[in-house]
Amino acid sequence: METSIKTVEAPDGYEGSGFFATSFDKVIGLARSHSLWPLPFATSCCGIEFMAAMGSHYDFARFGSERPSFSPRQADLLMVMGTIAKKMAPIVKQVYLQMAEPRWVIAMGACASSGGIFDTYSVLQGIDRIIPVDVYIPGCPPRPEQVIDGLIQIREMAASESLRRRNSPEYEALLASYKIQ
């Protein structure tokens, strides 16, 4: 039957009549990558651009991010969008700590990535000073296409990530370098 609906391609595995065998890594990665719930931590103009990306024209939701989760405990992806003042830093960190593993972080825009034009005493010079960041989206602010590209990179990371990665010594050392846990 001809249809325009696209479905996800099955991962590599053994197929026979009535069964299909593959690894948990691939199946769970596939599922995770198609339902990343973002937590929009929007503090300024990048947040407005994110609203455009979320709207019907760019339709962020079609990648499985239908539900922006305003509770960190149900979120997979922390999207920090906008200038983070030093006074805001402990709040960003607490939101990150409240998220359950696996968790990913996008720093959207120049301010979240590096402090941007706010090279000053009151502004955090990039959120990677307090929490680990997976994807940086450049721009001031970035176009919605760039936001979608950033999300797709996160999806690829989620799909290809080994289930044991979060228990690896490298990952624990990374968190320890941020004094987490």
Partner: protein
């Protein structure tokens, strides 16, 4: 109600404690001694003729080159009844950076004085809760003072390789 009338009333009542009258862009501006700033604000607010009863802003200025009057606290007040504005200045010495609080007259002075304390380190005597309001509590300096180099040459968070400078 004109600048002239208000200025004459103030001189009549407060004599040598009000001085340096100016009218930049038509805004009545004067300096007040530290001892008389609260009575002057109170008088402007409660006088039936003036009713200057809205405190628009309190802020500070740092003049590092003015000997013994390095800091200035600026009060902007507004009369809604007469649509009349006035600006009052109190100069302070770096060695005695105290001024009485206006929070007894205007509730809104509470946060404005905290902000002025936060950025300039001016101590408002009698303030109910004089602590930082905008900057992080751990900050150990007053950032709007003109006593810091524009950029710290030893910093390494924005290196040439990444930021081209």
């Amino acid at each position: 109600m004109t600048n002239q009338e208000v200025a004459e009333e103030l001189v009549k009542k407060f004599e040598n404690d009000v001085f340096d009258f100016e009218e930049p862009y038509g805004l009545l501006t004067l300096s007040v001694s530290r001892e008389q700033i609260i009575p002057v604000l109170e008088y402007l607010k409660n006088s039936p003729a003036f009713q200057i009863d809205f405190l628009t802003d309190i802020t500070g200025v740092h003049y590092p080159d003015y000997l013994d009057r390095e800091f200035c606290v600026v009060y902007h007040a507004h009369s809604f009844v007469h649509n009349f504005r006035v600006r009052l200045k109190v100069f302070l010495s770096l060695n005695d950076i105290h001024v009485p609080t206006a929070s007894g007259i205007y509730m809104s002075a509470n946060w404005m004085e905290r902000e002025t304390y936060d950025f300039f380190g001016i101590i408002f005597d009698g303030h109910p809760n004089l602590q930082r309001i905008l900057n992080m509590d751990e900050m150990d300096y007053h950032p709007m003072r003109k006593e810091y180099p524009l950029e710290d040459g030893t910093r390494n968070d924005k290196i040439d390789a990444l930021f081209g400078r």
